[in-house]
Symmetry: C2
Subunit: 349 residues, 2 copies
Amino acid sequence: MSATASRPTLEAVAERAGVSRATVSRVVNGAHGVRAALAERVRRAVEELGYVPNQAARSLVTRRHDAVAVVAAEPETRVFADPYFAQQLRGISKELTAHDNQLVLLLTEGREDHARVGRYLAGGHVDGALVFSLHLDDPLPGLVRDAGVPTVFGGRPGWDDGRDDVVYVDSDNRGGARDAVRHLAGLGRTRIAHITGPLDQTSAADRLAGFRDVRAGADPGLVARGDFTSGGGERAMRELLARCPDLDAVFAANDLTAAGALRVLRERGRRVPDDVAVVGFDDMLPVAEQTDPPLTTVRQDIEGMGRLMARLLLRGPDRGAGAEESTATAPDTPSGVVLPTTLIRRASA
Amino acid sequence: MSATASRPTLEAVAERAGVSRATVSRVVNGAHGVRAALAERVRRAVEELGYVPNQAARSLVTRRHDAVAVVAAEPETRVFADPYFAQQLRGISKELTAHDNQLVLLLTEGREDHARVGRYLAGGHVDGALVFSLHLDDPLPGLVRDAGVPTVFGGRPGWDDGRDDVVYVDSDNRGGARDAVRHLAGLGRTRIAHITGPLDQTSAADRLAGFRDVRAGADPGLVARGDFTSGGGERAMRELLARCPDLDAVFAANDLTAAGALRVLRERGRRVPDDVAVVGFDDMLPVAEQTDPPLTTVRQDIEGMGRLMARLLLRGPDRGAGAEESTATAPDTPSGVVLPTTLIRRASA
C-alpha cells in the first residue's frame, strides 16, 4: 500500500497547472464550466505527473452511482421539523425513484459539520447534489463547488460571484408577494403591515421586495422582522400592534408566521378579516386550512419544485439516457428556473 | 478499461471457494462472523484467481469513509411523519457527529426500492449501516447481509436463521409491558384490555407477550389489534367497547394508540382514570404530556437507543481508535443489547 502513499496528489496537479483544486477536480470528473485552455493545462499536468485520480473521482468518470445527495444547510432537528422541506423532499424522492436513483440525505448537527458534508460529496459517492436552505454567509456553496459534483440549488442562492453556471429552482417570491399586497390593497386596506422572514435568505428578502414594490414609501413601522416560525409571527404581531395600532392588514412572509399573527390578533380581540385582513405565503397544508379563519395565501408548488430540481440534475449533460423526457417541462439550458405562484382565497382576506 | 471487464469477479471467487457471495464480501471487507476455515478457503480462492476487489470493497479495507448509512424500511413519507424515528435519529446524529462521521440517510418510496438500497450499501459508500423498522417478511435484512457492511439493527429482528452475529439494540418491550399491566392490576382493575401494535414487528409482539405474561387466560375479547397510530387506537377502542363494555383498563401498545383510545373514551363519556384507566408505551413527548388526562406510560430511552446503535457500530473491531470510550456503557461482545424501561405515572392510571 506504500505505492498509494507516494502517488501524485490532486494538490500536486493543481500546483503544476497553476489552478485551484476545484478546477482539477472538475476537469477530472468531466464536469462543465471550465475554460478549454484551463482544462488543457490540467490534462497536461495530469499526464506529466502520472496522476491517477483516486477511486472516487475515477468512478465518477467510468460509471454512475445512481445516487443523488440531498443536503439541507440546517441542523437535523430543524430539517425533520420543517413541513416545507418534507414536502420538497417528497417531490425529490418520487422523481429520483422514478429514475431508480437512490436518495442520499446528508444530515448534520450544524454548520460546523459542513466541511464533512463537502468531503462526502467529493468522495465519489453520488452523481450530484440538491442543496437547500442557504443562508447568505453559509460556507456550504463553496464546499459543494469544490466537491466538483453537479449541483442544483433549492431557492435562488444569495451569493453573487459572477458565475453564470449556477442552476437553481425557485418560486416567484417577489411576484407572489406583490399579488398578496395588491389583493389587500384591492380590499381597500390602507395600513398594510408586513412580517418578514429571516432576511439572510433570498426567499424572505424577495418577498419583502415584492411588498415594497407595491407599498413604496410605506411607514417603515409597518414592517416587522419574523423568522418563518409561528412563534416569530406572534412576536412580530405584538410589536406591530404596539407600534401601529391602526393597521388594517398583514402580509405574513409564510403561513406559519400568519398562523402566529392570527393567534395574537384573536387574543387582542381584532376580528379577521373585518378589522385586520391577513395573507400568508406557501399554502402549506394542513396549516393554511386549519387556521381560524382559514388563510388566504400565496400558493407555491413545493413538491413540484423538488421534482423539478431532481429532474434538472438527472438530465444534466453527463446523464445521457433518460434526459429527453423532461425537456418539455424545463427550459433548455436553465440557470434559474422560477415557478409561478397563485393567490388562494380563503376567509382571512 | 477492457482489462477491468476480464478481471475475475466476486462471483467467480465465491464459486471457486464454494461459498456465498456474501461470505466472500465479508472476508474481503475484513468483517467478522465468518468461520476461520471458510475465510481461509476464500483467501485461497482470491489468490488463485488473482481477484482484485473492486474499488468499493478495496476502499473499505484501505480506508474509512467516515460515513454511516441509516436505513428505515418504511416509505419516506412515514419516516418523516414518525416522531419515534426522528428521536432515534437525533441520538444517532449526535453520536456520529461526535465522532466526525457523516450520517447518510437512505430514503425510499417503498419496499420495491430496497434492492437499490442494498446496492448502495454494497457500493463502498459507507462504513456501516443502522437499520430500522423491520417487518417479518421484509427482504431488507437479507439485502443488507449480502452488502457485507457491518450492521446494527434498531429493534430485535424478527427472523431467526440461527445466526448469532446479529447485533441489535432494543428496549425491554416485554418487561415494560408487564410493568404496565401489573400497575393496572395493582389499581384493582380486573377487566384489563390491550390494544396491540402491528404484530409483524417484534416490538408489538413482545408487548403483547408481556400483557399475556401477567393476564394469562384473560378473555381474548379484551385484545384488539392496532397499528401504532392514533387512528388505529380509536378504531380498536370502539371495537373493545362494543365487545367488552365492562372493561375498566386499557394498556395501549404505544402513546399514539393511547391518545386515540382516550379520545374515544371521552367521546363515550367514560371518565379516565375513574371508569377506565389507560397506560401507554414510549413516553413520546409532547404527546404523552398533552393528552387529556396526561398519560401514564412506559418510558423507553429512544434517543439513547439511537446513540447506542451508533456507538456499537463505531466501536466495531474494524474501527480501532475511538472505540475505547464507549465500552463502559455497552457489553463486550453484544449480540442484542436490551435497555430497561421505566413506568412514568401521570393522571391516566
